[in-house]
């Protein structure tokens, strides 16, 4: 029933083209001695729910911002297919405080996506929070509200930088399943430190590795699990192992 509800939602992504390709990216933070990336190349060949994984401080956030254009100057090296922008969202974003969360979300809902919004609000467990101000929410509630408003926008690729880091696991699971079923053809890049989660839900996993490892990245195929499917525990553990070994 849910899937049908939003069949009218424009799915802007062309499955033929690669979702994302970054070529030969070199980046160095001003004031630092060594470049963070030096000739980094990444390709994800299809839409879907993918992940960016790697140890803390390796450059996930930086790479995400380069892809989305939040760090400017890489429009030549970064290509993403489809229409709409690459959006980047992170877990410390805030909503303005002058009216309730519900009102803000309402105002940033593009026309025609009201039922999508209501569907997501319900699925994300936010129905009771719409009357509150953002500053009154708990961390995980903040996370969810923020992610929700991004999902309502047009995008060719949505990068979620630890967007669910402060949400409990059962809720997170529900949300991920919901995203996957509601936007089956969109592109997502999910940044998370949770190996199980990444291995289980993601299609392809880009593992960013230490500065001195070669190659800098490894692409690993995850289980891309859907709610209705049975979960192959063995395969999952294999994926997890592969990811952990790669990092």
């Amino acid at each position: 029933m849910k899937a049908k509800l939003f069949s009218g939602f424009p799915l802007t992504h062309d499955a033929q083209m690669s979702l994302l390709s970054c070529k030969d990216i070199r980046f160095q933070y001003p004031g630092t001695k060594t470049p963070l990336f030096d000739g980094l190349t990444i390709t994800i060949d299809r839409p879907g729910f993918h992940a960016l994984f790697g140890p803390s401080g390796i450059g996930k956030t930086t790479l995400a911002k380069i892809i989305s254009g939040d760090i400017a100057g890489f429009s030549k090296q970064v290509k993403a297919s489809g229409k709409g922008p690459c959006l980047y969202t992170y877990n410390q974003e805030r909503l303005p405080g002058w009216s309730s969360v519900g009102r803000h979300v309402e105002q940033s809902t593009p026309e025609g996506r009201e039922s999508l919004r209501d569907h997501l609000i319900h699925g994300f467990g936010l129905s009771n929070l719409l009357g509150m101000r953002f500053s009154q929410l708990s961390m995980g509630q903040c996370n969810r509200v923020n992610l929700l408003r991004y999902l309502l926008q047009d995008f060719r690729l949505l990068i979620m930088d630890e967007s669910l880091a402060n949400v409990d696991e059962p809720t997170r699971e529900i949300i991920i399943y919901q995203i996957k079923s509601t936007f089956p053809k969109a592109g997502f890049l999910y940044i998370s430190h949770n190996v199980v989660e990444v291995a289980r839900f993601c299609d392809q996993i880009i593992v960013l590795r230490g500065r001195h490892k070669n190659p800098r990245t490894r692409l690993i195929v995850g289980q891309n699990h859907q709610k209705s499917q049975p979960l192959d525990k063995g395969a999952l553990e294999a994926s997890m192992l592969e990811i952990m070994n790669a990092a």
Binding site: S68, T89, G97, S108, S135, N146, R149
Partner: protein, 249 residues
């Protein structure tokens, strides 16, 4: 909060008067340099009512002047907040005009505006707006990245929204500066009356000065102080309730 402001003002005022009487006593100054208590008291009983009228007259101009200056400061601040050529030009213009002492440009103002209410208002607003402007520029020039990011990246960040976000995030600072600027509006109006009016407490002070009547001036200062303390108290209460209704806390 309001009554606290007022009795605190009493303390401040009587400390000041006490200091003056102390100086008078220690240096043995005669009544025409610093008036004695009885002189002051007589002047007070004779003039307080008239001066109250004058202060209220000044006060109404000051309130309008303050509103005007808030509008000017917000406008200039919003236009000048950007690091663009035009933004910095507006800033340069606003800063320069401010550096010209009002007494020096008063002749030019009279040429342009004639005399009367408008000039008085204009001078009051000019004196009051600049400090507001500095704060507004400081606040409006600094992004609130964690909030603005969503609107920027989705192309929704009109300047109005940007201004609203930054104003909201700095509500405490803004209300402090705005309620404090009441003081400046009052002082500005008095200066304006001093150089260019036939009414208001500034005009009365000017005559008292001309007549070298310090006790009248001290009475006038009392009336100014009490009115302002009251106004400031009211503004602060308004600020608190604004914060409550806007920020929900």
């Amino acid at each position: 909060m309001l009554h606290r402001r007022i009795y605190q003002f009493f303390i401040v005022y009587f400390l000041g008067i006490g200091l003056l009487f102390g100086i008078k006593l220690v240096l043995g100054l005669s009544d025409y340099v610093i008036p004695g208590p009885s002189n002051l008291w007589n002047t007070a009983t004779a003039e307080w009512y008239r001066y109250l009228g004058d202060v209220l007259n000044t006060f109404t101009v000051a309130v309008v002047g303050q509103v005007l200056s808030i509008i000017i400061a917000l406008t200039v601040g919003v236009v000048g907040r950007k690091a663009t050529w035009f933004g910095s030009f507006i800033k340069v213009a606003a800063y320069n005009v401010q550096a010209y002492p009002i007494v020096a440009i008063a002749p030019i103002l009279f040429i342009l505006l004639g005399d009367g209410y408008l000039t008085r208002l204009f001078i009051a607003a000019m004196i009051c707006y600049f400090p507001l402007l500095l704060s507004v520029i400081g606040i409006m020039g600094e992004p609130v990245a964690d909030i603005e990011h969503f609107y920027r990246i989705t192309g929704r960040l009109r300047w109005q929204l940007e201004v609203k976000i930054r104003a909201f995030e700095n509500l405490y600072k803004l209300t402090t500066v705005i309620s404090g600027s009441a003081t400046l509006a009052m002082a500005g109006t008095i200066v304006a009356e001093f150089i260019a009016a036939n009414a208001g407490i500034g005009y009365s002070i000017r005559i008292a000065l001309y007549q070298s009547d310090l006790s009248k001036i001290l009475v006038a200062l009392f009336m100014i102080g009490i009115t302002l303390s009251f106004y400031q108290g009211v503004l602060e209460m308004l600020g608190t309730s604004l914060k409550k209704s806007w920020a929900g806390k």
